[in-house]
Symmetry: C2
Subunit: 382 residues, 2 copies
């Protein structure tokens, strides 16, 4: 093999505190992210809210072993993915993975500095959120480009983006395998009666209303996974992590578990359909909080399909998604060039120094509409 510049695969994720000391900084960074939350005097109010919420969150992390396993799982996934890519795509080998977390170390800055030190030129920003949302993938990408500019590394790498892979056949296959694994944990005599409850992180309704495609993509993954497993189970989709004062997309997972219990359903397999690794949402919210809700509601046989973590089938899927991207001609998905209807962020849908043709879609048309005086209203303003 020719000794060439490594191809950098940047794995974008929210991150999670690896120790209890990191809980407050994690929260502070979250509450400073204006792409998710807009607060008055954000700097001070964000820090205040983070400080107030930290003790409760520290307790939750304490109960799952003192920190989030997200870093460890993602690093293992990166390792497995890079090894496979060297075989699948010898023409772009060697492949190196870099973690870039939005709210904890390693940050975008750390990733970019390492890439520069490693002599990376061709880079792929690979969102570890299979379903696209502006609040996750969008925020991570925008932060990555801002950081590259700040570090004067804007011209250092040629970028392309894997912005969504919610319906990639390899991902669907891997998730279907985890569902089958979960089903196998039920007694064979009751397996047919198991209700599959696909649970996804919720989004504020105002985000859905401005046209964020997340809901659609989650539903598409669920649909494809159900087709893949043969479809012979009842299933529902619900949304978790709906905390705080805003209105969230429903139905809430907790309410659905209670209702299934009330209807006399005894066997429920919950599937974290958007989570590629274990972290607080699976280990605490599902395995502790919802398990207790299920017990109270009479769902006596409540189990969770394992998260993909370092399952070789999932590592294969990660590598296949990237290989298809490297072998393809596109710098991003076709959908990436469509802004949300209610977009107000000029930075969105950018690819910095693109390796392949990409034109960032304009936020506002520049030429006037002939014969029309009044300003078109944005969604939510009705």
């Amino acid at each position: 093999m020719v000794n060439q510049e490594p191809t950098g695969i940047v794995m974008l994720n929210l991150g999670g505190p690896r120790s209890l000391d990191e809980v407050e900084p994690f929260l502070r960074n979250l509450f400073l992210d204006r792409e998710i939350i807009q607060l008055p005097v954000q700097e001070r109010l964000g820090a205040f809210i983070a400080k107030r919420r930290a003790p409760k969150l520290r307790k939750l992390y304490e109960a799952i072993g003192g920190g989030s396993p997200l870093y460890d799982w993602t690093a293992r996934q990166g390792q497995g993915m890079a090894e496979r890519l060297d075989v699948l795509c010898p023409e772009t080998a060697p492949h190196r993975f870099y973690l870039a977390f939005r709210y904890t170390d390693p940050t975008s800055e750390q990733a970019l500095r390492r890439m520069a030190a490693d002599g990376v030129r061709r880079a792929v920003a690979f969102a570890q959120y299979p379903q696209y949302s502006c609040t996750t993938t969008g925020s991570s990408l925008n932060e990555l480009w801002r950081t590259a500019r700040r570090l004067a590394l804007a011209e250092s790498f040629e970028w392309s983006v894997i912005d969504r892979w919610s319906a990639h056949p390899a991902f669907v296959r891997a998730m279907a395998a985890k569902v089958r694994e979960g089903l196998a944990r039920f007694d064979e005599a009751v397996r047919d009666d198991v209700v599959l409850l696909f649970s996804a992180h919720s989004l504020p309704r105002r985000v859905i209303d401005r046209g964020d495609p997340y809901l659609q993509e989650v539903a598409a993954t669920v649909h494809d996974v159900m087709c893949s497993i043969g479809g012979d189970h009842e299933y529902a989709l619900s949304f978790q992590a709906d905390v705080g004062p805003v209105a969230w997309q429903g139905p809430s997972t907790e309410s659905v578990i209670r209702a299934l219990g009330a209807q006399g359903r005894r066997h429920v397999l919950i599937v974290g359909i958007i989570f590629t690794t274990d972290h607080l949402d699976t280990l605490s919210e599902i395995d502790m909080e919802f398990a207790e809700v299920a017990r109270e509601a009479g769902v006596t046989d409540f189990r969770r399909a394992p998260a993909p973590n370092d399952d070789p089938v999932f590592l294969d899927a990660l590598a296949e998604v990237v290989a298809d991207h490297l072998h393809g001609e596109r710098g991003c998905s076709r959908q990436f060039s469509l802004r949300c209807a209610g977009c107000t962020n000029a930075q969105c849908r950018e690819i910095l120094n693109p390796a392949r043709p990409h034109r960032q879609p304009p936020l506002h048309r520049t030429e006037p509409v002939p014969g029309v005086g009044r300003q078109p209203a944005l969604p939510g303003s009705r």
Copy 2:
């Protein structure tokens, strides 16, 4: 062919006023449907609202030719479907179709009386809403069973149900063909820039929050249709017909059209992804109201993918859906036996005098949960 009892295919739909005189009775029946709207003193208040709204709606129907073409299109679809079924399923021939509309003639009562007169024994209730919602398919089925009981025809027919076909390959193929037909209407030079806007009837958020599967099924159809056409277009999903004082699932189609215009998009193909025939929602709301919105917003090239109506490809699809059902072993979809989490209607999910095994799921468990005193909360009560 053996001369045997005809198989009855009952095509369930909302119905629409065929003349201006039928507008007020149509509205009155709609506002009396407690499965959609719950009003105090429903009988009187429903009639009052219907009377008040009728003049405006009559004007809309006047503008599209004086009535809804829903009856004519559905009758043609039934004819084409029945002819095809006689070829596809000689063992259950002859097949006769019956229209059963929820809010206009021909009603469930008329359908059932005709079936009895024709000597039908085996009957299929075939929802003409491809995507399941309790507000459409659910309401139509419950009305059908109530009517059969009222007419003392509860034992006269052996029923099975086609409650959803949102992802049936033949339906997806037919819808994809209509999208391609719509795309072909654009100048070839701009065709790549066309945004596909899939528009579905909206639902009140409280219906979504109680676990109605409609949203998921609409997203699944959109996903499958996009895969079928090769996926090389930007697309969005939005919701229309969001009138009245309740909160509706967004984003609204009108707001998305305005926003696309504001972003400088000139070419939009709107696709009524849940509508199998033309009626007020396509001919008036899309072709008139939204076309005007598009013009104002600078979407200079706004077109609609034709509704399936009597397209032979769609008639093939209808026949295939029924043939697969008749050849299958199930009396309904697997999903039909899962109540919405927030279900409060004991009648839901029934199949009257089922031709194939069906156990209506209980609304409440009968035995108590061991060791748990308090009542499980239903969704929406948090």
